[in-house]
Symmetry: none
Subunit: 416 residues, 2 copies
């Protein structure tokens, strides 16, 4: 079963609104085992909407349109779809009554323009919308179906889940297409996209079912496996051996299955150990603390963060010996280690992290240019420090430093 | 000049990634006076991408594709566009050298797969990408132009602003479309979108040329004026009186003209005064330090940040009296003030900021529910503290707290 999504609205074309509806519907369709090969956006324009709809209708079996169901003149979706399919619009008496009651309860008369929201193409079914004045519409014609949904996400999302999803599932069954799609995500940190692909090049080359895709983030790579089979169980059976093989090859570079963030995975490890953490940051400027504290419940293990942007702050709050700074420079392994030890001590915690480097655009030396970052992780048993050469702009260098520190912490937690 | 946007990537079709690139590009094109009538999304599929591209190419004058420029086998945009236009791909020696140097600096050999990122369709121009391995491509052919941009927003957005925008403007001029579009942004902080709209309701109602649009952000509102005229000078003359009127009405709620960030504006004010700053954060978890340190040169005025996530850290590093915490609670005005004073003292700086609150989802009391945040700003002359009730999820509350603290600092700097 192939579906297309058409989002209607000039505010989308102008970029004033981000098209979250399309990604929501696409995710929901994937869960239902429905493939989406095309998404489109058109403005509130009768002719362009008509062309776009007919193109999709001729090409795919299920078309989902969102937006353009409001009461105003530029809300055209209902009219255009009825017209394109050669169906007359009929007034739905019970929705009209519902609307009139709604306005009455608000102490107002229903504006005449709202009346058209009770219109439905002949043979269509209204989907009751508890959260707004525009109902959804489900319409099957021959071997194909079209669904119209209101544009506001707070109306569209529950309406889809509560009413559209079951009709789509039923429609899919009626076509006796029993294929189910199952996806699985493996998240990798500390290895670049091309290195990941090299490790699994033969699997990628041989991919068929499941398919294998990689997506690059900052210092991270997502691997997505997607299988299709007559049942969820069978799809999962197709996924399992490939996932196992990839996990074997990438080992602990894979930090999670699914969509969890690295800081949340690290938080779980901290909580499992019952350990506490303090961080001393310089070039990363508080980003590591910020990411750690984005995780609900991080106060269970995070004690303290210090952003020591001056030598005095490094001395007074983290106990870094000014002699070491003059000897080795502020961007150096000994200073990173001293910051980590100082944070651990000041926070009275089990682990300390220290980060010092040049985030740019100014600063840096010939030996340690912009992008040079030293990161240290210390516990009572272990001291580990490493030099990195990150590239990119200031914010990107901060981000690479924070992700790398999280990953170093993760590795130490795994090994302890 | 009519443009279309095609976003490429199976992750978009599956809904795993929200298509923020399309809305970003659409907004930027609107500023350049370019109309967008169609947007589409296609997966990493050669034939469907080819069809989609050719349809757009035959219909419009400027096609912008984003995504599919990576080093992997499913990155097809470059190849498909070259093939569809009948142009051979040529290797760009200087970009290849750049890539090899880049990997060398990271102490690695360039994987063979990255080599294809130096390919460019004949006649095309590479757009230098400082932030990734995929350059953009600008290609004019006959009366039409196509632009390829890398998919990651942190690469695409600056590349568009720094390199694509001027080429699009030039392309538009070359087509002798003499209407010039000029835009102007006024950024407001500390006033909601509907309050802003009320203050300028009559101007919005009467808008014609320039048009007036408001865009809501987190605790901020952007007002965009757009005028069109036969020359830049004439367009600017249309903008000036409306801008002056809006500035008069909103006064110091407007913190900048243009796209500068609040933390950069505050940084300029700090530098002008020659003052220094230290911050003590609890519920905002380092986000205020992170935003302050995103500004290049912030080490000129930022001395210290402390993320004191425990009462001990508040006592030991910021000198907060535990008696005050027991008496007033850790989320209270006296504790915010004590944190601000403690940060100022520990950093030896002219100004201190203290933030304490409940970011949720757990925590909070009946009197001070989740979302309650106290923010204090102190200098040697002034002490100012205020209670806020922010709403939203954990990350949103952190963000509201950080923006509000920046704005309180800005107001104190303006008044001193």
């Amino acid at each position: 079963l192939q579906a297309e999504i058409i989002a209607v609205g000039t505010e989308l074309l102008l970029g004033d609104t981000v098209n979250t509806n399309a990604s929501f519907i696409a995710r929901e369709l994937a869960l239902l085992g429905v493939n989406v090969y095309h998404q489109a956006v058109v403005g509130d324009n009768r002719e362009r909407l008509r062309q776009e709809f007919l193109r999709s209708w001729n090409r795919s079996s299920l078309i989902i349109l969102c937006g353009g169901l409001g009461p105003t003149e530029d809300d055209l979706t209902r009219e255009v779809v009825a017209d394109a399919l050669g169906l007359p619009l009929e007034e739905n008496a019970s929705w009209l009554k519902h609307l009139q009651d709604l306005f009455q309860r608000m102490g107002r008369n229903m504006p005449p323009s709202n009346r058209k929201q009770a219109l439905c193409p002949q043979g269509g079914e209204l989907l009751f919308n508890k959260r707004g004045t525009a109902p959804g519409i489900y319409l099957q014609k021959g071997e194909k179906a079209v669904i119209l949904l209101p544009g506001p996400p707070q109306e569209l999302e529950p309406l889809f889940k509560e009413q559209a999803a079951e009709r789509i599932a039923e429609f899919a069954r009626s076509r006796e297409e029993k294929q189910v799609i199952c996806s699985m995500i493996l998240k990798v940190v500390g290895m670049g996209e091309s290195a990941v692909e090299e490790k699994i090049a033969d699997l990628i080359a041989a991919q068929e079912n499941p398919t294998i895709a990689t997506l690059a983030g900052v210092m991270e790579v997502k691997i997505r496996l997607t299988a299709s089979a007559p049942s969820r169980e069978k799809a999962e059976k197709l996924l399992a051996p490939v996932a196992t093989e990839i996990k074997t090859r990438l080992g602990s570079y894979i930090y999670t299955e699914g969509e969890r963030l690295l800081e949340a995975v690290v938080g779980d490890l901290m909580r499992n150990k019952g350990w506490t953490l303090s961080v001393g940051e310089s070039c990363s400027g508080g980003l590591l603390s910020h990411r750690l504290t984005n995780v609900p419940g991080s106060s269970d293990y995070l004690r303290l963060g210090v952003v020591a942007y001056t030598p005095e702050a490094k001395k007074n709050l983290l106990g870094v010996d000014p002699g070491q700074i003059s000897l080795h420079g502020v961007v150096s392994r000994p200073v990173a280690l001293a910051m980590a030890r100082g944070a651990m001590k000041a926070g009275g915690s089990d682990i300390g992290i220290g980060i010092t480097g040049f985030a740019g655009p100014d600063g840096g030396t010939e030996e340690n240019p912009v992008g040079t970052v030293y990161i240290a992780v210390v516990s009572r048993e272990v001291e580990y420090a490493r030099r990195f050469n990150f590239w990119g702009e200031r914010e990107r260098i901060k981000e690479r430093a924070a992700v790398t520190a999280l990953n170093m912490l993760r590795r130490i937690l795994l090994q302890s």
